[in-house]
């Protein structure tokens, strides 16, 4: 299951959603808003997406992950809009029969998400300035 949402990510509910009798391991990764980037202080992040394409790419990542590992259930959820420090911006929950598979599958899914899903964040710094984050261009 993949989802973009403008509301709080209920990671407990997502973790419950992937638990199954045939899976002895559940790994849930949360990406949260970090306060410090080197010496700059973040107040909030604004996330935006090419929504339909982002959902399509997230679904492809789920399918790709399921091909590589014996995934029972998995969910990828990304938040959009304004998030304050410590809020959860992304959650990936995966269940597999064994823990090694669950760790690897979850790692693969979040790495691929960060690499190719069309979502962008804008840093709103404490000094009142802001900037979109485009790796390789800043």
């Amino acid at each position: 299951m993949v989802q973009l949402t403008h509301t709080l990510i209920d990671y407990h509910a997502l973790t419950e959603q992937v638990r199954r009798p045939d899976c002895g391991a559940v790994v849930t990764f949360l990406g949260t808003v970090r306060e410090l980037t080197e010496d700059k202080v973040t107040v909030a992040l604004d996330y935006e997406a090419h929504g339909s394409m982002a959902e399509k790419k997230m679904a492809e990542i789920e399918a790709d992950t399921r091909q590589r590992w014996p995934v029972g259930e998995m969910v990828l959820v990304h938040r959009l809009g304004r998030l304050e420090v410590c809020e959860v911006s992304v959650a990936v929950a995966v269940s597999c029969p064994h823990r090694g598979q669950a760790f690897d599958a979850c790692r693969h899914a979040i790495d691929r998400l960060k690499e190719l899903v069309p979502i962008w964040k804008k840093e709103n710094w404490k000094d009142g300035t802001s900037e979109w984050v485009h790796p390789g261009t800043n």
Partner: protein, 81 residues
């Protein structure tokens, strides 16, 4: 033909618009879109060079030939997560 290119993030801020329209010859490619965008919006130049493009919900490389109703998007380097 006229094609519309959706813009996101810094590109949207620079252009001051969520989308721009470009007039292109029939059988134009994504490479033509890149050139025309950079020519008509010089301030987007640096970002255009670092962006990938999408047609509909799929990545489209530079030799992708556009249809008149193609839904184009310019995707600057992503930073989700």
């Amino acid at each position: 033909m006229t094609v519309t290119v959706r813009l996101f993030a810094r590109a949207k801020d620079i252009a001051g618009a969520e989308a721009v329209s470009l007039s292109l010859p029939e059988s134009a490619t994504v490479a033509d879109v890149r050139r025309r965008l950079a020519a008509e919006h010089p301030r987007l130049n640096a970002l255009v060079a670092r962006s990938v493009f999408a047609v509909g919900d799929e990545f489209a490389n530079d030799d992708w030939r556009l249809s008149p109703r193609a839904e184009l998007a310019m995707l600057p380097p992503v930073s989700g997560g």
